[in-house]
């Protein structure tokens, strides 16, 4: 699903890349920028976390359609050299900013990173702006990077709820591989999830190494070879066929089977017999009082 997302996004799509301290989502973000530039789209980048040089470093695609709005040098207005401050993150200012560079192609807005904005602007305001960007016509798609370990779970959840796709990246087992868990919500309301292992090459193209199946269906491991306990012994405990038959025929000594019960109840030949002649006072009942016992 990662490759599908890289190929193209629908109009009104909001894609959020969640990363953490152990693996930075910056390179994946650059891959998305590179893919968008290769598709001849206009990309506007709101850079808070990285400088322009660092973002453009390594991008081989033509950077002519890449417009970088630097909020890195002075996001809070401390040095009065601002191009874009964090408090300008609202729909009016953004639309104004995007209109300054006019072009016929639809615009993809990349925000690096949303965490910076969330530290200074309240989460409801950020969500409102994202929603208005999604619904309005100023941008075709919004891609944002979010450092999930820097915010409360509720904040991360709220922002990701707005998104049409969320990619959570984590380090993989091998050196340059990483795991991406993707959740995509289509317009019809269907939610698709996927987990893939990917690696990013030098030119920021993404190679999906393998697809791990959904969390519910683990890959069935090949059945373990049943070990034979009678092998590798210095003595022989195997049974031949006749021995096995005799073993199964054997009646165990303390099991009360039907044969034993009839043998005990009916006296065999030659054993003592009991003759009973009831007195006048005896209440002799011919019936066996133990007859109803199910033994």
């Amino acid at each position: 699903m990662l490759s599908e997302l890289l190929q193209g996004t629908d109009t009104g799509a909001v894609l959020i890349i969640q990363d953490s301290c152990s693996y930075s989502g910056q390179h994946l973000l650059k891959s998305f920028i590179s893919a968008a530039l290769n598709k001849e789209e206009a990309v506007h980048v709101l850079g808070f976390d990285v400088s322009e040089e660092e973002l453009k470093d390594g991008l081989t695609a033509s950077t002519q359609r890449l417009h970088f709005h630097s909020a890195y040098t002075d996001p809070l207005g401390w040095t009065n050299r601002t191009a874009f401050t964090v408090h300008q993150f609202c729909v009016e200012e953004l639309t104004h900013l995007l209109k300054q560079t006019s072009h016929p192609k639809p615009v993809t807005l990349v925000i690096d990173s949303l965490s910076w904005i969330l530290r200074h602007v309240s989460p409801p305001a950020v969500c409102k702006t994202l929603q208005q960007l999604k619904k309005g016509g100023a941008v075709r798609a919004v891609i944002g990077l979010l450092h999930a370990d820097m915010h409360q779970r509720g904040t991360v959840g709220s922002v990701c709820h707005l998104a049409t796709s969320v990619i959570t990246v984590a380090p993989g087992t091998k050196g340059d591989e990483a795991v991406a868990k993707t959740t995509k919500r289509s317009k019809s309301g269907k939610v698709m999830q996927d987990e893939e292992i990917f690696s990013i090459k030098g030119d920021f193209s993404v190679t999906v190494v393998s697809k791990t199946s959904h969390a519910g269906h683990r890959q069935t491991e090949p059945e373990e070879h049943q070990t034979d306990p009678t092998a590798n012994l210095t003595f022989n405990i195997r049974l031949s066929d006749t021995e096995r038959e005799a073993k199964e025929k054997l009646a165990l000594p303390f099991v009360f089977s039907k044969e034993k019960k009839t043998a005990l109840l009916q006296s065999g030949p030659g054993s003592g017999r009991i003759l009973y002649e009831p007195d006048a006072n005896d209440d002799y009942d011919q019936e066996d009082p133990d007859d109803d016992l199910d033994v």
């Binding site: 693996y23 040089e53 809070l76 401390w78 050196g175």
Partner: protein
């Protein structure tokens, strides 16, 4: 300057990566020996060093640097080292006298909610080389900012968000604009994990600065407990890499601090064991 650490970080006083943001952190341990290393390293590399010493006095660093072969007094006189003595300056703010003309750097002590803009301005004026300097002023190399340590600001009432803003601005000015380096020390208490950033303490600050930095050195005690011959372990993590090698690389070393340095070795190869 610890030669083994130099070879681990692939840096010599003559050639080191510029524009690096190095985060030195510790959890229930003491990573300040690394600050002494970086101080002597960058002074030897003839860089212009701005040192924010918020927890110790100048004489403390001077005495230790003497053992590492660098004279801080000389560097300060020559103008190579600009040293902000946080403890002294804070006294002049808390007990103001008419004659004090100290810099406004520690102004956040008056009102911690204001933020660290003044401190940033102090840093900015220190690292910028004066245009049209006097004759005889030596030309120093790229500027370096050393902060020891950042988490004490949290104890002084500054919010962790303000500290992150400060480190961001320093990075924008020193690393990106002037191609200098920054070394910051963040100390954590190792308290139980807070609820994902609701409590903005030192752990949250550590995560925030980790996202900004390009190289982290995390010092911890040995997980197995106290050892006389091994003082702890250092985890070195390279985060951003230009060009090839997009992935982060981590290496673990154990160390022992001596009188005049520290030795680093791969786990299990301590000289006491071999």
């Amino acid at each position: 300057m610890f030669t083994e650490l130099n070879s681990i970080l692939n840096a010599t006083p003559d050639s080191f990566t510029q524009g690096e943001f190095i985060l030195v952190s510790d959890r229930q341990s003491d990573a300040s020996f690394l600050i002494h290393h970086f101080l002597s390293f960058y002074l030897r590399a003839r860089c212009k060093v701005c040192f924010l010493g918020l927890v110790q006095s100048f004489s403390h660093y001077s005495a230790i640097s003497q053992r590492l072969g660098v004279s801080l007094t000389q560097a300060r006189e020559k103008g190579q080292l600009i040293f902000l003595e946080g403890l002294k300056e804070s006294l002049s703010i808390l007990i103001p006298q008419e004659t004090t003309t100290g810099s406004q750097a520690m102004d956040f002590l008056r009102d911690p909610t204001v933020g660290l803009q003044r401190l940033y301005e102090f840093v900015r004026s220190s690292v910028r080389s004066d245009g049209g300097g006097e004759e005889g002023v030596e030309e120093w190399g790229p500027p370096v900012l050393l902060v020891d340590d950042v988490s004490v600001l949290l104890s002084l009432g500054v919010s962790a968000g303000a500290v992150l803003d400060f480190s961001h601005y320093c990075r924008a000015t020193v690393c990106s604009q002037l191609q200098g380096n920054i070394v910051m020390l963040v100390r954590c208490h190792g308290e139980d994990a807070e609820d994902d950033g609701s409590d903005e303490g030192s752990e949250w600050l550590l995560k925030g600065v980790t996202h900004q930095c390009s190289l982290t050195l995390h010092v911890q005690g040995l997980p197995t407990g106290y050892c006389r011959d091994i003082h702890g372990q250092v985890e070195v993590c390279w985060r951003r890499r230009r060009g090839d090698g997009q992935h982060t690389q981590k290496k673990l070393f154990q160390y022992k601090v001596h009188d005049k340095g520290a030795s680093f070795f791969a786990p299990g190869t301590s000289s006491a064991v071999l």
